[in-house]
């Protein structure tokens, strides 16, 4: 394991040295982790490094000196510049740069190097999406219908993920052991079988091996003690020993596979989030009802101590994939931040070289969260939410960010699904329309970006009749009584948002992070206000990384208040009496602070 870490470090440093021309850590006269961050102040006129004195008092950061993604159009984010990634595929010649909804106009090519920027999106129908992302931040791809060889024109430092599945049902079946009897694995080393499955064999085309377990569920202690095969009559000591074997045996399936993969030459081995992993080591609780659970405590987390740390200490990455059941911009981001905080707290109990990186990837659409008609099911999250989902977890200590979305591989998410009755369609722009019913002379209604309309009828004359979804109204504003609107179908289509449009939010977020990548990677995530508090008190979301005397802060106010707000950080960075006020608005903003010597 230590060997693998060493290799990883060498690989990472080598990469940075190659691409950025930085000196290796330990040799700098000028601090390479700050070089691009400070240089940005010269490239973006408004952006400034903001000095502050660590003494009691109140400091309000000047919003005019913050950085938003809009500031980065036309700015060279990478030296030497990254070559543009050519569009590929059968109709590549037809594509003009800047034509797709997910593209940020004027953004020059760049790629993250020290942090993971992950795309697991779509399928071959989304080849152009991958091409654009490869040249605009993303450095790690799931194949998603391609092979690395297919995308050989991507930047050299691009990483490819090989996701393999280990079938533990087979293992138990072959061993003639009842499925899910993890206690058996405490005594039987599964490495030979894993090796036989060849899933951990070297594959130089890929840089990251991601282990996925096809397995029986892990039982919690209560359920375990209800099993027929639990030694109910045994003395307490024996029961405890049995339980330990059960959970250690479970951890072994990950640890053994990771160890084998490392031995086979894989430098980066990760696990895909599954039930029984982070959710049991550090339960986030039900974000949507209460959010009072404290940050995880490795001392008291039973699951972490029983098996979590045995797994975590043996892998390099934990890829936590999250999908969002509800339409809740702030809640979605805070959910990820809780996971980051929990993982950071747990990691702190491991020796530094054994701490896995948490890669937080999110589904960029809302899953719906239940049955029945839910207008938000399948709708793309707002672009700024995706930006925040990209930036904030990284400043909270996550090693990576990204998107994951399974789509019909042949369907492009740039293409609008055809209008049909019952379809809920998200709008991308502002327009005004007078209702055509249900009663005459109703006043005009203004539609805005991210509004959703519900199609009620398609006319034979090519018209479409629809209603505006109004959350909070009975049946969300859809019914015979509610105003109806009619447009030619083609005209409504012109106002509709494509599913992939919000990927621009990811690109914008990665662009924001890029100049600070080294600072983030080498700095330490700090937190003044916990996500639980930000959620309950509807506060602006703010996160911070400290590197030496520099502090990088990200601030965003997703709550829709009609006044400019500030995130208030009391006793900032442990300085008693120092209150930092960080202006936050609907755009994710970065502030770079430099602490004056006292």
């Amino acid at each position: 394991m230590r060997h693998a870490r060493k290799l990883l470090w060498a690989w990472g440093v080598g990469l940075v040295s190659t691409v950025l021309g930085y000196a290796a850590p330990g040799s700098p006269p000028a601090d390479p982790a700050l070089r691009s961050a400070v240089a940005l102040a010269g490239k973006v006129g408004r952006f400034k490094v903001i000095p502050f004195r660590p003494v009691a008092g109140e400091v309000t950061l000047p919003q005019g000196q913050s950085l938003s993604a809009d500031d980065l159009a036309g700015v060279q984010l990478q030296e030497p510049p990254l070559e543009a990634v050519a569009a590929s595929g059968p109709s590549a010649a037809d594509r003009a740069p800047g034509a797709a909804a997910y593209e940020m106009k004027g953004l020059l090519p760049f790629q993250l190097n020290e942090l993971y920027a992950v795309a697991d999106y779509g399928g071959t129908g989304n080849v152009f999406v991958y091409d654009y992302l490869a040249g605009h931040g993303v450095n790690t791809f799931f194949p998603s219908g391609y092979t690395p060889a297919d995308r050989s024109h991507y930047p050299a430092a691009t990483r490819w993920v090989k996701r393999v599945s280990l079938n533990w049902h087979w293992w138990f079946s072959n061993k003639k052991i009842p499925d899910g009897r993890w206690d058996a694995l405490a005594e039987i080393d599964p490495t030979p079988e894993i090796a036989g499955w060849k899933v951990c064999d070297p594959d130089p085309a890929y840089q990251v091996l991601l282990l996925s377990m096809n397995r029986a569920p892990l039982l919690d202690r209560k359920a375990l003690r209800e099993q027929e095969w639990y030694p109910k009559q045994a003395p307490e000591g024996e029961q405890a020993e049995f339980e330990q074997r059960y959970y250690v045996g479970f951890a072994r399936i990950y640890a053994a596979a990771a160890l084998l993969a490392h031995q086979q030459g894989w430098q980066t081995v990760g696990i895909w989030s599954e039930p029984g992993m982070l959710d049991t080591w550090a339960p986030s609780g039900n974000l949507w009802a209460r959010m009072t659970e404290p940050i995880a405590d490795p001392e008291t987390s039973w699951a972490w101590n029983a098996y979590g740390k045995l797994i975590a200490a043996n892998v390099d990455l934990i890829v936590q994939a999250t999908n969002f059941p509800y339409w809740n911009e702030a809640g979605n981001v805070l959910w990820l931040l809780r996971n980051s905080d929990n993982m950071a707290a747990l990691n702190a109990s491991l020796p530094e070289e054994e701490r896995p990186g948490l890669v937080q990837i999110a589904t960029p659409t809302s899953s719906g969260g239940g049955g029945g008609w839910r207008w938000w099911a399948g709708q793309p999250l707002t672009e700024e939410t995706i930006t925040a989902l990209t930036v904030m977890p990284l400043l909270a200590g996550a090693r990576g960010c990204g998107v994951t979305l399974g789509l019909d591989p042949k369907v492009s998410s740039s293409v609008l699904p055809p209008l049909r009755e019952g379809l809920d369609a998200m709008l991308k722009d502002t327009f005004t329309l007078r209702p055509t019913g249900p009663v005459p002379d109703l006043p005009e209604v203004t539609f805005k970006p991210n509004d959703v309309v519900h199609v009620t009828m398609l006319g034979a004359d090519g018209s479409v009749t629809f209603q505006r979804v109004q959350p909070g109204m009975p049946n969300n504003g859809v019914g015979d009584w509610a105003p109806t609107f009619t447009l030619p179908q083609a005209e409504l289509d012109r106002h509709r948002m494509t599913l992939d449009a919000n990927l621009r939010g990811m690109v914008r977020g990665l662009a924001l992070v890029k100049p600070f990548e080294a600072l983030i990677r080498q700095g330490e995530a700090k937190r003044e206000v916990r996500p639980q508090v930000q959620n309950y008190d509807t506060l602006p979301i703010v996160r911070r990384v400290k590197y030496g005397r520099h502090h990088l802060l990200a601030a965003w106010d997703p709550w829709g208040y009609k006044r400019p707000r500030e995130a208030v950080l009391r006793d900032f960075d442990g300085h008693a009496g120092l209150t930092l006020r960080v202006p936050a608005d609907a755009q994710v903003r970065l502030y770079l602070l430099e602490e004056a010597n006292q």
Partner: protein, 584 residues
């Protein structure tokens, strides 16, 4: 007696002549108010009292709600504008076409008060048409929860109330990692206010000019505080006193900080449901006395909270099915008023009503959730405005039966609306009367029948037992005899309408208690209230005995208004009546 009646008639006529001339001159708004009513209600006879003797007023000399039907109550009645869009069926009345919703009393013309303020704080299904009606019948402050579709067409002088069900201190403290109930560990007041303001939840809603917090969290008085594990039992007396001070200040700050936060953000007209200068009382109310100088809570923290708010709410939820309810409402208002009157700045008090019986505790209580009787609400609302308050808030949510009686369901307790006779399963006839309650044991969906027993207070298990008669009847038939939830609202609107013609006098006059409401409560007397302005006394009466099966009683007021030898006798019955008498 006949002589007295004769002289009274003369006196009445004399007053009438006087009212006529005064009305023409519009010199005295109180007299003008009486004259205006007299012009509209011919049977209404204000009486001039003799110096001594017994004066017996007849019911018809007063005004009941029936006298006000089809009467113009407001010379500038409120008018609804044009709707933005039709109401969704879930929120509109669900009455059959052409039928009047059951919350609308017959022929009460639109009106609003000039001198009182009433809050309509109702939410839930089928309430938007009810909102429209309330906005035209006595309520000028409406809860903000309704959407633009409802708000847009309200009368121009409508005010909006933001109901803030927060900040939820238990959860707030948990989120901020402060152990439950440890008010001593809260940040200082200024920091607390800053934190609340930062949340944005206290931002001024430009639409609203009233804000009510619902904060009902508890605290420990010193004797209980000292029993807590976390109390510094081994500290010095001085340290313990400082701890107790910190604790109670912390608790007070949980009430004060939201007000200061809201005020900083521009809110005015702040009130707290859950803060009472005199806590709502039922048990021992007959002997209750406000003691502003000696009340520990009031003097330790209550006054500070009082200073932080603008409106005082007097929660008068009725707990029980009891003839004491109206007197309880009035007595609690009186006690609250005495506390308020002890302060240099006297803040307006508004009743806080719920249209159903609260229940008053856990377990099965057949009366819990029953609609408050129409007659009782009529009395509480109209006579409530005789107590010196500013108005009332009606809070209700979750019930939506505004067009039909409840559907009988197993284990439901159902109140009877009208008299009928049913045979028991043993063949014995039983007369059921209005306000009887039956307990539905089961419902047969195939036969569409209900099996039930009659609630009999005082009997084993309230009459629901194997020894008591069982009845089985057609479910629809039983339903047709049930009181709908909406009946409470009839009483609410009628009560306000009844007070409307007297509002100037009630608001500007002096509250007089010929028989304290605590005594009326304790002795089960008929209810009487009076307000005096100049020589005019407006007197309201109500006898709760009647709907509980008793006979109507008179109210006798000896040495009326301090006039030795002058006795005033007023009738009291199930209908609230308002009389006007004038000193010679």
């Amino acid at each position: 007696m006949s002589i007295i009646r004769h002289s009274l008639l003369v006196a009445g006529l004399a007053l009438l002549c006087g009212l006529g001339s005064l009305g023409a001159q519009a010199a005295d708004p109180g007299l003008a108010e009486i004259a205006a009513l007299k012009a509209k209600v011919r049977s209404f006879v204000p009486a001039t009292l003799p110096a001594t003797g017994e004066v017996v007023l007849r019911p018809e000399q007063g005004v009941s709600i029936d006298d006000l039907r089809e009467v113009e109550l407001d010379d500038k009645p409120p008018v609804l504008g044009k709707r933005l869009a039709p109401y969704p069926p879930e929120m509109a009345d669900d009455c059959p076409e052409g039928e009047r919703p059951l919350y609308q009393p017959e022929a009460i013309r639109p009106f609003r008060f000039r001198y009182f303020h009433n809050e309509f704080n109702v939410f839930g299904g089928h309430t938007w048409s009810l909102f429209d009606y309330a906005a035209l019948h006595g309520f000028d402050i409406l809860v903000r929860g309704v959407p633009e579709e409802v708000r847009s067409h309200m009368p121009a002088d409508t005010h909006w109330l933001h109901m803030f069900y927060g900040p939820g201190w238990d959860e707030w403290m948990a989120v901020h990692q402060i152990p439950e109930g440890r008010y001593d560990l809260l940040p200082p007041l200024e920091t607390l206010v800053d934190m609340l303001v930062e949340s944005g939840k206290y931002d001024k809603d430009p639409l609203c000019d009233h804000l009510t917090f619902d904060m009902e969290h508890g605290w420990l008085r010193p004797d209980n505080l000292r029993k807590q594990d976390w109390y510094p039992k081994n500290a010095t007396a001085e340290e313990q006193a400082a701890f107790e001070q910190r604790y109670i200040r912390g608790f007070a700050n949980t009430l004060i900080a939201p007000c200061l936060a809201a005020r900083r953000q521009g809110w005015k007209n702040l009130g707290i449901y859950g803060f009472y200068p005199y806590p709502r009382q039922w048990g021992g109310l007959d002997k209750a006395q406000a003691d502003p100088a000696g009340d520990w809570d009031w003097n330790t923290w209550g006054k500070d909270v009082y200073n932080a708010v603008d409106i005082i709410y007097a929660s008068v939820y009725s707990f029980y099915w009891s003839p004491g309810n109206v007197a309880y409402v009035l007595a609690n208002a009186d006690l609250q008023k005495q506390m308020v009157d002890s302060m240099p700045v006297k803040k307006p008090i508004r009743f806080y009503f719920m249209p159903t019986l609260h229940g008053g505790g856990g377990g099965w209580r057949w009366w819990q959730g029953q609609p408050i009787a129409r007659e009782e609400f009529q009395a509480s609302l109209s006579l409530g405005l005789f107590t010196g308050v500013d108005g009332a808030d009606i809070w209700s949510g979750g019930r939506s039966e505004f067009c039909s009686p409840p559907i009988p369901k197993a284990n439901a307790d159902l109140m009877i609306a009208d008299d009928f006779v049913a045979d028991s399963e043993a063949g014995e006839a039983m007369a059921f009367k209005r306000y009887d309650v039956v307990h539905a044991l089961s419902v047969d969906p195939e036969k569409k029948t209900v099996r039930f027993q009659k609630i009999a207070p005082g009997k084993p298990n309230q009459g629901v037992n194997d020894q008591a008669p069982f009845y089985t009847t057609d479910a629809d038939e039983l339903r047709s005899h049930l009181i709908p939830f909406a009946e409470s609202f009839l009483g609410i609107f009628e009560g306000l309408a009844l007070a409307k013609p007297f509002e100037y006098l009630l608001r500007h006059g002096e509250v007089k208690q010929d028989i304290p409401s605590t005594v009326q409560f304790g002795k089960g007397l008929p209810v009487v209230r009076r307000v005096k302005l100049g020589k005019i006394s407006v007197i309201g009466t109500y006898d709760p005995n009647v709907i509980f099966g008793g006979q109507p009683r008179n109210v006798t007021l000896p040495d009326f208004d301090g006039h030795a030898g002058l006795t005033l006798v007023l009738p009291a019955e199930a209908k609230t009546r308002i009389f006007v008498v004038m000193e010679p």
